[in-house]
C-alpha cells in the first residue's frame, strides 16, 4: 500500500510538473500536441497497466 501511494504521489508530481511546463510554453501548438500525445499514451498506458495491475485482473 505504501509503495503504491509513493508511486502515485510521484506520478502526480510528474504530471503536475508536466502541466506547469506546458503552461510556461508560449507556443500553444506544442501544448496541444503534447496534450494529444498524452491522451493517446493514457489509452496505451491503460492497456499496458491492465496486464500487470492486480485489481484489473477480472478484465482477463
Amino acid at each position: 500500500m505504501r509503495r503504491m501511494l509513493r508511486r502515485w504521489r510521484a506520478r502526480a508530481a510528474d504530471a503536475t510538473s508536466l502541466l506547469g511546463f506546458l503552461a510556461k510554453r508560449r507556443s500553444l501548438w506544442l501544448a496541444l500536441l503534447v496534450a494529444l500525445l498524452l491522451l493517446l499514451t493514457g489509452a496505451l498506458y491503460v492497456v499496458q497497466t491492465a496486464a500487470v495491475a492486480p485489481y484489473v485482473y477480472p478484465l482477463f
Binding site: R3, R6, R7, R9, A10, R11, A13, D14, S17, L18, G20, F21, K24, R25, W29, L30, L33, V34, L36, L37, L38, L40, T41, A43, L44, Y45, V47, Q48, T49, A50, A51, V52, Y57, F60
Partner: protein
C-alpha cells in the same frame, strides 16, 4: 548530506553516491547487467552505491537526475515539427519511449529505488561541468563541456569558482561537434556511442585529405571555436541514420558496412575529422582562457574522452593546468548531477587541493578474499595464494616471460578506462604482443593500439608528456619511436603492427604516439609495486594495460566474470586478489560451459523467455482478432489462464506478471504504431509545414557562441 546521482535512458546509465561532498561510490549499470552501454534505469548500480555507503534508499537526502527530461522532449518535438513531413519512423519509435518512461523520472525512481526523498533535476551540461570541476583539485577553473547533445546545449563554456558553476556561453542543437564525430563514426562503419574511440585509433592510418571539404561544406568553424553544421549533410534529426545521402555524395561513397575492415577512405575520414576536432577544441580552450582569465581548465562530455585532442591541448599549454573527468561521457553525468546539487544545496567552501577527489576513479565494487576463493573453487581451477611480495614477483616474471595476465584487484574503475584494477597486462617490448592481444585475447580489430601504464617518476624516460595522465586521457609521443612511413599498408595487416620502430612496439601507435597512464607514488600501491618489480627484472617501467574484457562486452566486475573472461580469451595467467589461477585448455572449455552463478543471470534468462512467450501471445491476440476470431479467443484464454495462475499460485506471480506485461507491451506497440502514424500525419505534418520554425539566425564570420538560454533554473522541476 547524502545525495545519489543518477543518469540513464540514453547510454551508459550510472549511479554515484556523494556524502557531504565526498565520493563514496560510483558505477555504470553495464558492469552489473553485463549489457554494454546499458541505458536502462541504473538500479543495480544505485543499489551498489547505497550498500557501499551503508545506506538504505529511504535514508537518502536527495536524488539528483542528470538532466531535464521535459526540455529534452521539447527539443525532440520541435525537431519533428521542423523536419516534417520527414521523420515519421523516428517519431513512431521515439514517442512511446518518452511517454512510456522517460518523462516520468520521479515515478520511476519512487517505484524502482523506493526512495522517499525529493528528486532534483540538473541540466545535462551543468552535470557534465560539475563532474569535471567538482572532483578537480582547483578552487576555480574554466570548464568546457562537449558532447552529442543534452537538452538543447551541445557545447558549453562555464566559469567555476568556489561552489558556483556558471554558464558563460553555449552552442545548441543541431550544431554539435560530438554528433559530427559520431556521424563520421557511423559513416566509417562503427557503432555510434561505442566506436568513436576506434575512429580515433584509426585516424593515424589516414591522410587529412577531407579537412577542407568538411570545413567548406559540412562545418563552419569560427576563430573562437564556435561552429555551425550544415544540416543538409545529416539525417539524425529525422532518421535513425546519422548522415544523409548528400554526405555520401560529397565523399563519393555510401556509409561503410558495419563489421567490415576499414579501408583508406575510412582512415582518411577518421584523420580529417580528428584534425577538425583538435582544431575546435584548441580554439575553444583559447577562447575560454580569454573569456575567463583563469589558469585551470576542466573538461567533460563525451568529446573530452578524445585523448589525442586532450594531449594536444596539454602540449599547447593553453591553460597552466588541465583536469578531465575520467568518466567524461554520460555515466559521469550521475556524479556531476550529485556534485551540482551538493554545490547548490550545501554551498561548501572550496580550497585548492594537492590531489583531485576522484580517488583514482577506483569507485566501484570490490570483493572479499572469500568471495574470490569461492568463485575459483566453483570454476574448479588450479590456484595458489601468494603473499603480496611473492605475488608481485610471480606476476612480473610471468609478464617478462611473455605471458598475458588478467589482473583483478580492489575496487572496479568508474569510467570507460581500466586503470589497473580490472586490467589485462602484458609486456610492451614484445613486437608480437599488439597483434596477439588484439586477435587472440580481445578478439578485436588488428589496427587498434594499446595503452601503456608507467611509473610517474619514469615517464620522462619513455614518453613526451607535458603533464601527468593518471586517467589515461592524454596521448604523448614515445621517445625514440619513429612514425611508420606508410601506415596505411599496415592497416589490415594480419600480422599486426610489427614494423613499428620503437623500444615499446606493443604500445606505440603508427604515428609514434601512445595513450599514457601515469601511476603516481601511493595512488595504487599494488600496480605500483608490479611496475617497480617489472622494471627491476627488465629495466622497463612500462606495462601494456588494456581493459579486462573481450570485444563488445563490458569490463569484468566480479571474480566470476574475470574467470569467465580469462577462460574465453587466450590469457595465460589470472590474478584475482592474492590468488594466481592457471588453467589448461580443457579446464577453460569446461568453465565456459558452466552456467552463470548469479540469480540475476538466471532471472535474466527467465525474463527473456517470458517476454518472448508473452510477446508471441500478445501478437497472436491482436492478429487473431483481425484474421481469425477463434485463434484470438484461444490466445486470450491462455492469457486468462496465466492471470488465474497468478491468483491461485503466489509463487508464480513474478513470472506471470512479466509475461502479462510483455503481452501488454506487445499489444500497446501494435496499437501504437498506427495511432502514432495518424498523429504524425494529421498533426505534426500540417503544423510543421505551416508553422514549423525552419529559420536559423546567421552571424556571418562572427562568433556563434550564444548566451545560455537558461542560465538559472529550478532544480526541483524537470523543465
Amino acid at each position: 548530506m547524502k545525495i545519489l546521482g543518477l543518469s540513464a535512458h540514453y547510454h551508459d546509465a550510472a549511479a554515484a553516491l556523494l556524502v557531504d561532498g565526498h565520493i563514496v561510490a560510483a558505477a555504470q549499470e553495464e558492469r552489473f547487467s553485463r549489457t554494454k552501454h546499458d541505458a536502462g534505469f541504473p538500479l543495480q548500480a544505485a543499489q551498489f552505491c547505497l550498500q557501499r555507503g551503508g545506506l538504505r534508499a529511504d535514508q537518502l537526502d536527495a536524488v539528483a537526475w542528470y538532466e531535464k527530461p521535459f526540455q529534452k522532449f521539447d527539443r525532440l518535438l520541435s525537431g519533428f515539427l521542423q523536419e516534417a513531413p520527414r521523420g515519421m519512423g523516428r517519431f513512431i519509435q521515439a514517442v512511446p519511449l518518452w511517454l512510456g518512461a522517460r518523462l516520468w523520472v520521479r515515478s520511476e525512481i519512487a517505484d524502482l529505488l523506493e526512495a522517499e526523498c525529493p528528486v532534483y533535476f540538473l541540466q545535462h551540461h551543468e552535470s557534465h561541468a560539475a563532474s569535471a570541476y567538482g572532483p578537480s583539485p582547483f578552487e576555480e577553473a574554466a570548464v568546457l563541456t562537449l558532447d552529442g547533445v543534452g537538452e538543447w546545449t551541445t557545447n558549453g563554456l562555464w566559469e567555476a569558482r568556489g561552489c558556483e558553476v556558471c554558464p558563460i556561453a553555449e552552442l545548441q542543437y543541431p550544431d554539435s561537434l560530438g554528433l559530427l564525430y559520431s556521424a563520421c563514426t557511423a559513416w566509417c562503419g562503427f557503432r555510434v556511442n561505442d566506436g568513436e574511440y576506434k575512429l580515433m585509433g584509426l585516424a593515424p592510418y589516414g591522410e587529412p585529405r577531407f579537412v577542407q571539404t568538411l570545413l567548406d561544406e559540412v562545418i563552419d568553424v569560427r576563430s573562437d571555436g564556435s561552429y555551425r553544421l550544415n544540416p543538409e549533410y545529416f539525417a539524425y534529426r529525422y532518421q535513425e541514420r546519422m548522415t544523409s545521402p548528400a554526405f555520401d555524395r560529397l565523399f563519393g561513397s555510401a556509409a561503410h558496412p558495419p563489421g567490415q575492415l576499414p579501408t583508406k577512405l575510412q582512415a582518411d575520414m577518421a584523420r580529417s575529422i580528428q584534425a577538425i576536432t583538435e582544431d575546435v577544441v584548441l580554439k575553444q580552450a583559447r577562447h575560454a582562457r580569454k573569456q575567463t582569465a583563469m589558469r585551470s581548465l576542466c573538461m567533460a562530455g563525451g568529446v573530452a574522452l578524445n585523448c589525442v585532442a586532450n594531449g594536444r591541448l596539454a602540449r599547447e599549454a593553453v591553460f597552466d593546468q588541465l583536469w578531465i573527468q575520467p568518466a567524461a561521457g554520460d555515466a559521469g553525468g550521475a556524479l556531476g548531477a550529485a556534485f551540482a546539487l551538493h554545490f547548490r544545496l550545501e554551498r561548501p567552501t572550496r580550497e585548492l587541493r594537492d590531489h583531485d577527489a576522484q580517488q583514482g576513479s577506483l569507485l566501484g565494487p570490490e570483493f572479499s578474499e572469500q568471495e574470490m576463493e569461492e568463485a575459483i573453487h566453483r570454476a574448479g581451477l588450479t590456484y595458489r595464494r601468494l603473499e603480496p611480495e611473492q605475488l608481485t614477483e610471480q606476476v612480473a616474471a610471468s609478464i617478462a616471460a611473455g605471458n598475458v595476465v588478467g589482473w583483478f584487484q580492489g575496487r572496479m574503475e568508474f569510467g570507460p578506462r581500466a586503470l589497473g584494477n580490472r586490467s589485462i597486462l602484458a609486456d610492451p617490448r614484445d613486437p608480437d604482443m599488439q597483434s596477439r592481444v588484439n586477435r587472440a585475447v580481445k578478439f578485436r580489430e588488428g589496427f587498434r593500439p594499446f595503452a601503456p601504464m608507467v611509473l610517474q617518476d619514469r615517464v620522462s624516460k619513455h614518453f613526451l608528456l607535458p603533464c601527468p595522465s593518471p586517467y589515461m586521457l592524454l596521448t604523448g609521443s614515445v621517445i625514440g619511436a619513429e612514425p611508420l612511413p606508410d601506415p596505411l599498408a599496415e592497416l589490415n595487416e594480419a600480422r599486426g603492427l610489427r614494423k613499428i620502430r620503437s623500444a615499446l612496439p606493443a604500445i606505440t601507435h603508427v604515428d609514434a604516439s601512445a595513450r599514457v597512464q601515469t601511476v603516481a607514488a601511493g595512488s595504487n600501491p599494488r600496480i605500483e609495486a608490479l611496475l617497480d618489480r617489472f622494471e627491476q627484472k627488465t629495466g622497463c617501467p612500462v606495462l601494456l594495460n588494456t581493459s579486462f574484457n573481450v570485444k563488445d562486452e563490458p569490463i569484468v566486475c566480479s571474480p566470476w566474470e574475470a574467470i569467465q573472461c580469462f577462460c574465453r580469451a587466450r590469457i595465460e595467467e589470472l590474478v584475482i586478489g592474492p590468488f594466481v589461477v592457471t588453467a589448461t585448455d580443457e579446464d577453460k572449455k569446461r568453465v565456459i560451459a558452466l552456467p552463470a552463478p548469479t540469480a540475476a543471470a538466471q532471472r535474466a534468462w527467465g525474463k527473456a523467455l517470458l517476454e518472448i512467450v508473452g510477446g508471441a501471445v500478445g501478437f497472436g491476440i491482436a492478429t487473431g482478432f483481425l484474421h481469425s476470431p477463434r485463434l484470438g479467443w484461444g490466445l486470450l484464454a491462455i492469457a486468462a489462464t496465466m492471470a488465474t495462475l497468478r491468483v491461485i499460485l503466489p509463487s508464480a506471480r513474478g513470472a506471470v506478471d512479466r509475461a502479462l506485461a510483455a503481452i501488454g507491451k506487445a499489444l500497446s506497440m501494435i496499437l501504437a504504431v498506427p495511432a502514432l502514424a495518424f498523429v504524425f500525419v494529421a498533426v505534426i505534418v500540417p503544423w510543421g509545414v505551416l508553422w514549423g520554425d525552419r529559420k536559423r539566425t546567421d552571424a556571418e564570420g562572427g562568433s556563434l557562441w550564444r548566451k545560455p538560454a537558461q542560465p538559472t533554473h529550478d532544480p526541483k522541476q524537470p523543465h
